[in-house]
Symmetry: C2
Subunit: 403 residues, 2 copies
């Protein structure tokens, strides 16, 4: 039962296996644009109208026939008769005739007959006569119909992530709903006969479920929907049943199984109905991390210790979640700083050291891989290369921030 790990894979090998075996889900749904920021567009969006939908004034001023302003100067103004005023949202039914002008506000339609706008500041008003003090050329201070977007033009494409600006563009095109890729559903299955959900009293020998909450928060932050299942005891039939139930979702993450025996239960359950693609990584903490495919769906087994689970989820689970959701690779923020104290590393495995960042100095937050304080207070992690023995005090390191 206590089967040894097969060859331990490096982080890079594991990530390559994950990206080769996870694909975007193809389920789509129609949602209102109000709820679409951050979502992945599942249709091309082309314009059903010109933007602007009509030629409009780009300044407050007077709509004129440009040629009638030629030669205008401060001391030799051209005089035009004001035939009315048109605000944005109004539609002047008349026409600007010879020797005439119409007051327009920014955004208001350009009336028939006129072909330019003289800005307010280059004019004076005496009774119903407008004095134009500078000439304008045809088209001056006008945004012509379709200048920005021409009807039929494709503005956004399937697969794009909707930023606030793109949501605004959808609105500008008059779209109130769009097709997006559905958020993948992720089964989160805590295991361990000693594990109890928070909010209930602990019996002797029991501890609270931590990892399914950590993971669910991470899953929500990366475009997926966590579905937390009940805690599963360390028994073969229970693990098998939980796996079957988890496969109703798009991805399954088991967490817990801190003992070698429990980890093997999951590996065996996956092997029975699918394939284990790796089980065991050359990283610390996180050696027992498991990844497999069952019925085309990715299955992860995360380490049971909270710090191991969290750092392995940042490194291995997030990439899978984002591929599934159609999101671009995660680019976490990184900061550089100097180690505040000497850290002895374990050679032969790449080490993820959880750290705190204070005033540019980097302090190890890691107490032991079970430590809750470590995940509660860590700002991020730094990677100690596979063959490093030690990081000296004052050595510069890069910290990837937990966010």
């Amino acid at each position: 039962m206590m089967r040894p790990f097969k060859r331990l894979l490096s982080r890079e090998e594991a990530l390559a296996i994950i990206s080769a075996n996870v694909r975007r889900i193809e389920r789509v749904e129609r949602i209102p644009i109000e709820a679409s920021a951050g979502r992945v567009l599942a249709e091309d969006i082309s314009a059903d109208l010109n933007v602007p939908p009509f030629s409009r004034a780009a300044m407050d001023g007077y709509a004129v026939r440009a040629e009638e302003t030629y030669g205008a100067a401060t001391y030799a103004p051209k005089r035009l008769r004001l035939i009315g005023r048109q605000n944005a949202g109004e539609w002047f039914e008349g026409e600007v005739g010879q020797g005439e002008c119409l007051e327009v506000a920014t955004g208001s339609p350009i009336p028939r007959g006129s072909d330019a706008v003289v800005p307010m500041e280059y004019t004076g008003l005496i009774g119903d006569i407008v004095e134009v003090r500078r000439p304008v050329h045809p088209g001056a201070n006008i945004s012509p119909e379709g200048e920005d977007i021409k009807m039929g033009e494709t503005i956004l494409r399937r697969g794009e992530i909707l930023t606030p600006g793109k949501v605004g563009a959808l609105a500008a095109l008059g779209r109130d709903s769009i097709l997006v890729y559905s958020k993948p559903n992720v089964a989160v299955i805590p295991t361990g006969s000693e594990v109890r959900p928070p909010g209930s009293p602990l019996g002797r020998g029991e501890v609270y479920d931590t990892n399914s909450y950590t993971l669910s928060a991470l899953i929500s932050a990366h475009g997926c929907v966590p579905k937390r299942l009940q805690v599963v005891p360390d028994e073969p039939e229970a693990i098998r049943a939980a796996l079957r139930m988890g496969l109703d979702q798009d991805l399954v993450v088991f967490t817990g199984g801190s003992s070698v025996g429990t980890r093997d239960l999951l590996a065996e359950a996956v092997e029975e109905v699918g394939r284990v693609l790796f089980h065991g990584l050359q990283v610390k903490p996180g050696k027992p991390t498991l990844f497999g495919i069952v019925e085309d769906k990715p299955v992860f087994g995360m380490p049971g210790y909270p710090t191991s689970c969290l750092s392995n989820a940042y490194i291995f689970l997030i990439p899978a979640l984002r591929i599934l959701a159609g999101l671009p690779p995660y680019e976490p923020r990184r900061v550089r700083g100097r180690m505040a104290e000497r850290v002895v590393a374990s050679t032969g495995r790449e080490q993820f050291l959880t750290v705190r960042v204070r005033d540019g100095l980097i302090y190890p937050a890691f107490k032991e891989s079970g430590a809750i304080t470590s995940i509660a207070q860590a700002d991020g992690y730094t990677i100690i290369p596979i063959n490093a023995d030690v990081i000296e005090e004052g050595e510069e390191v890069t910290v990837t921030l937990f966010e």
Copy 2:
């Protein structure tokens, strides 16, 4: 009516005024920890229990009396009688007596009588006799009760932002709900007699509301809840009524009012019942941005042009939203790259140039401040300093990403 702007403020002056006049809201609410990631904690969290809640095995192996292993070696093993097996989640009622040991799994309680765990790999099992091949010291491979967190210790403090790791720490302490600061509600009020909501047909001279959607997406992304009000026509009484209605929320943002006249309507409405703290900025686009305080609540007037509105919201509105929500200052991601083409800047005003980033080259995305394509396709903006005339092709610039 067409009142000129007073002195134009710099970006820094405007930001200083905003941060001096906006405070975190003090409303709190109790929520389940499942929904707490990203929220701001409104209570100190101290531990109601020790973590771990009992001394437990840190390895799979045998619980022993350490002194009985002294002198053990591969070819001179110490022999102990196996009195049973205890998994995680079980509680062994007996005691490990002299010459005895108990099999334990990682995470299982340390039975009475024993004071160390010999890892499985340093043992052999013959019938009910365990051969111990290495000595262990007292406490070896045990996580003692309270090692990580001692009952009564404060683990998280009011004002902290709940990361996935901190949510996990709450779970580990058995908390299923917590007090957080409520998300501020933000009234978003589109103005303009020509503005119609998307999803409805456009009449002549009308355009679709863009900015209230852009702003709502941004407001959601920065810890607040947008409450979009109906489009308000450019009329004094309508603006006044919308302001009154908006003041039911924690912050009010008007958008639109592209003409000078409309902008003045808002300034007048704010002055009647509160104070305008600035109206007019030395930035392009965005000159007309307005900020005031009414009944202790911040009121913004954003420019009407989509690109102006969006870039000014990134720069001036987000800081206010985050203060209100109790979030730390936004640190957007920045990238550096070389300008792909020469850009002529307008001197005398700081210019926010929306740009696209492609293969490390920076292209202006800005067509004109009304351009929807500009906000749809821009990846971010670069700031052209107030006295720069031009950015040369190949010059290196910093781009702040829209995200």
